[in-house]
């Protein structure tokens, strides 16, 4: 279903419209503040910009509920803000302060919160979060929590091996997992057309037997409504869903990179499609926002960021003795995470197993033999498809590929009867 139809169906409330606006603005302001800090040499390491991609971070994370889980990537600061991370955590992380979530042990958006916000920390190696968030979804189902997990991957990261392993495991487990493939057209200096010889990365979903969407990544309402639909489908047990959000990376890979390899025309095209400018026009036109409301939001944001930045700047660096601590989880209180059961424990074991999470397909198609006949492939636990007789009037003299039997061939994917199969 096109995102616009869904959006119409969703009927966002005024508050939701303004939330999306606020978080996109906050996303950009947080990053602009950090750019200033970077120029003042107050950011210890690299700084990665999501300029022009705010609609994706904000719109997709806004589709999650509080109990849901997510793992951001480096350009998903907007998602962190939506999930409830205060800007000070982002500032202190980048400034390697003792008050940061990792106490200065790691930087950027490499931090998480298992207990409250349900955020898994990313690492720099791409794709690894996909199986991790699949595991989160599997555990959530096992415990009966009805949660959805979400992570992001770039066009670049979609070429990793673990992207395949993770998405295939998610599909085979029918995990309640949503993957946002943020196609910003550049993996550092390599354009997407030199990474993959296909137009739509979402097409890959077909190979995993899962549903997918393609959305304008600079249209926050489209991103939100698509993500919302995907999250609810995943929660309802339809399995993992891939959303490709098309956008453009307007800055270099990081602050050091002027991105001179990007064609001028491409940059200009996308600068005219700034997601915040576009959305602001929409809100003003729809009278969801006026000059007064805009100023209120800006004042609120400025006051907040001023306070948060000051907190970060005034925070100390970690004491050197911290370096040797924390490799192992030791002591009785280091591991506080207890499984939160929301289904009867006896349901997980035979004979009372009650969840049916795995896919099964009714057939495995057919392959052409040397005599140009079709060799059926099917599983013993389903009925084999009926093959048209080789010499029947319909098939004789015609290429096999056009026979009616072949038309019926694509495997129907259906919700599992895992219990029955075993």
């Amino acid at each position: 279903m096109p995102a616009t139809e869904t959006a119409a169906k969703l009927k966002l409330s005024r508050k939701q419209y303004l939330d999306l606006y606020y978080f996109m603005r906050l996303n950009r302001e947080v990053e602009d503040t950090m750019t200033r800090l970077f120029r003042q040499n107050k950011i210890v390491g690299g700084l990665y910009s999501s300029l022009g991609q705010e609609a994706i971070s904000v719109g997709s994370a806004y589709a999650l509920e509080k109990k849901d889980w997510m793992a951001p990537m480096i350009r998903n600061i907007g998602a962190l803000l939506v999930k409830g991370v205060p800007p000070r955590d982002i500032f202190t992380q980048h400034m390697a302060k003792y008050t940061s979530p990792t106490k200065g042990k790691d930087g950027t958006s490499h931090f998480g919160d298992l207990e409250n916000l349900h955020i898994v920390s990313p690492i720099s190696m791409l794709g690894d979060l996909i199986p991790v968030l699949t595991g989160v979804a599997m555990a959530g189902r096992y415990l009966g929590q009805k949660i959805v997990s979400m992570t992001w991957i770039g066009d670049g990261g979609s070429s990793t091996g673990v992207f395949h392993e993770g998405l295939n495991l998610a599909a085979s487990q029918k995990a309640a997992f949503v993957l946002i493939l943020e196609n910003n057209q550049w993996a550092y200096s390599t354009p997407v057309r030199r990474q993959v010889p296909i137009e739509n990365l979402a097409d890959r979903a077909k190979a995993y037997g899962i549903a997918s969407y393609i959305v304008d990544g600079n249209d926050v309402v489209a991103v939100y409504s698509t993500a919302k639909e995907a999250v609810e489908r995943a929660r309802a047990g339809e399995g993992p869903i891939l959303i490709e959000a098309k956008t453009f990376r307007r800055r270099g890979h990081a602050q050091h990179d002027p991105a001179e390899y990007v064609p001028k025309e491409q940059r200009e095209f996308w600068e005219k499609r700034d997601p915040i400018t576009l959305y602001e026009k929409f809100l003003l036109a729809q009278r969801l926002l006026d000059a007064k409301g805009k100023k209120e939001i800006e004042d609120k944001m400025t006051a907040l960021l001023e306070k948060e930045r000051e907190f970060a700047e005034n925070s100390p660096m970690p004491p050197p003795e911290l370096a040797s601590t924390g490799v192992y989880c030791t002591g009785d209180d280091c591991h506080k995470i207890q499984p939160k059961w929301e289904r009867p424990i006896e349901e997980v074991s035979p004979p009372k197993s009650s969840v049916e999470p795995v896919w099964t397909v009714e057939g495995f198609g057919r392959g052409k033999s040397s005599s140009r006949e079709n060799a059926l492939i099917h599983f013993g636990d389903t009925q084999p498809a009926v093959e048209a007789p080789v010499n029947s009037p319909k098939s004789s003299g015609k290429p096999v590929a056009k026979s009616p039997a072949h038309k019926a061939a694509p495997a129907k994917v259906s919700a599992a009867r895992g219990k029955a199969r075993r």
């Binding site: 979530p101 790691d106 998480g112 920390s121 991790v132 599997m138 392993e165 989880c329």
Partner: protein, 324 residues
């Protein structure tokens, strides 16, 4: 009580921990319907169901990633590598993601990664590996490599209950060859504690896994020549039980390390460094290493035999060392 094989000890440990704690699950290739390539999980699917005994596609990185993700919601997954050689396929997921989680962002990952390791059964270059040292260099793991059924069961139970990622190596040569009677009651063997398998005063032989048995055989032969070797089973390589090692070496003043892992970069080098740092004046002779050749594990029995340490090699090295 009938004696229990090493393999059955592993199965019992998983069975008992899963029966006692619904947060324990098993995930891996062919662990369910088939019961594992070596049948270490036979009967688990029937007892605990497919939500807890999870057959996966051939995707080691995904197995580790998923196990780690499951642990974030309070589960204690056991992830099986069908052969431990395949742990190389998920090296990134283990070393960069799993091992660093607690140090970096306070995220403990109580998972156990276990699987059949080691040579001596003609498994060839891709089914015989001893990959423990790849991971010893990664802060964040605990590494266990038992040599007896009693230890295998007790250490695996302790590993499952541990709040850190534990790499648990099971020597497949011992699976059906090593048997002993096990207590009927629940017990654990704590991680990080070595065991003195034979007391002696002339030299210390440090070993683990299958080579521990080789070392004991060599020690018996040495005793006939009135050389009393003290044989210590390291059991856990990380954390290493320095106290027991130092105590023994301070008594015998000589140290021989025997391991099946290849020589260069094997744990003997690390132990040598520890002894030089902490027991330099107690040593009467050089630290001697008996280890596998610095080659891949070859397939032909004649080559594999040449590759591996054996009783004669340990005996000869120990006898030389005892002369100092």
């Amino acid at each position: 009580m009938a004696p229990v094989t090493f393999l059955e000890a592993i199965r019992q440990a998983m069975f008992e921990e899963m029966a006692a704690d619904p947060s324990v699950v098993l995930i891996g290739e062919d662990v369910g319907v088939y019961g594992g390539a070596f049948k270490t999980s036979e009967g688990l699917l029937e007892k605990f169901g497919w939500e807890r005994v999870i057959d996966t596609p051939i995707s080691e990185s995904a197995i580790i990633g998923a196990a780690c993700g499951m642990s974030y919601l309070g589960l204690r997954p056991i992830a099986e590598m069908q052969f431990i050689d395949f742990i190389a396929c998920c090296f990134n997921q283990l070393t960069n993601f799993v091992a660093r989680g607690h140090y970096l962002w306070n995220a403990p990952a109580p998972i156990v990664v276990r699987g059949p390791a080691g040579a001596g059964v003609h498994g060839g270059p891709f089914h015989s590996l001893s990959p423990e040292m790849y991971f010893l260099h990664t802060p964040g793991f605990k590494i266990v490599y038992p040599s007896t059924p009693y230890d295998a069961k007790g250490l695996l139970k302790a590993s499952i209950r541990d709040n850190n990622p534990v790499l648990f190596f099971e020597h497949k040569f011992l699976y059906r060859r090593s048997k002993e009677e096990l207590p009927e009651t629940d017990y654990i063997v704590p991680l990080g504690k070595a065991a003195v398998r034979r007391e002696g005063k002339h030299l210390t032989i440090l070993s683990y896994a299958a080579m521990m048995h080789t070392s004991l055989e060599a020690a018996a032969a040495l005793a006939k020549e009135r050389i009393e070797a003290e044989v210590i089973d390291l059991r856990t390589l990380l954390p290493l039980d320095e106290e027991t090692i130092l105590q023994s070496v301070r008594k015998t003043n000589r140290c021989l390390v025997v391991h099946e892992d290849t020589k260069t970069g094997g744990i003997a080098g690390e132990i040598a460094a520890i002894l030089f740092e902490k027991a330099f004046h107690d040593l009467d002779g050089p630290l001697v290493r008996v280890a596998s050749l610095d080659t891949p594990v070859p397939y032909a029995p004649t080559l594999e035999e040449a590759f591996l340490p054996n009783t004669q090699k340990v005996f000869a090295a120990a006898k030389d060392l005892a002369r100092f």
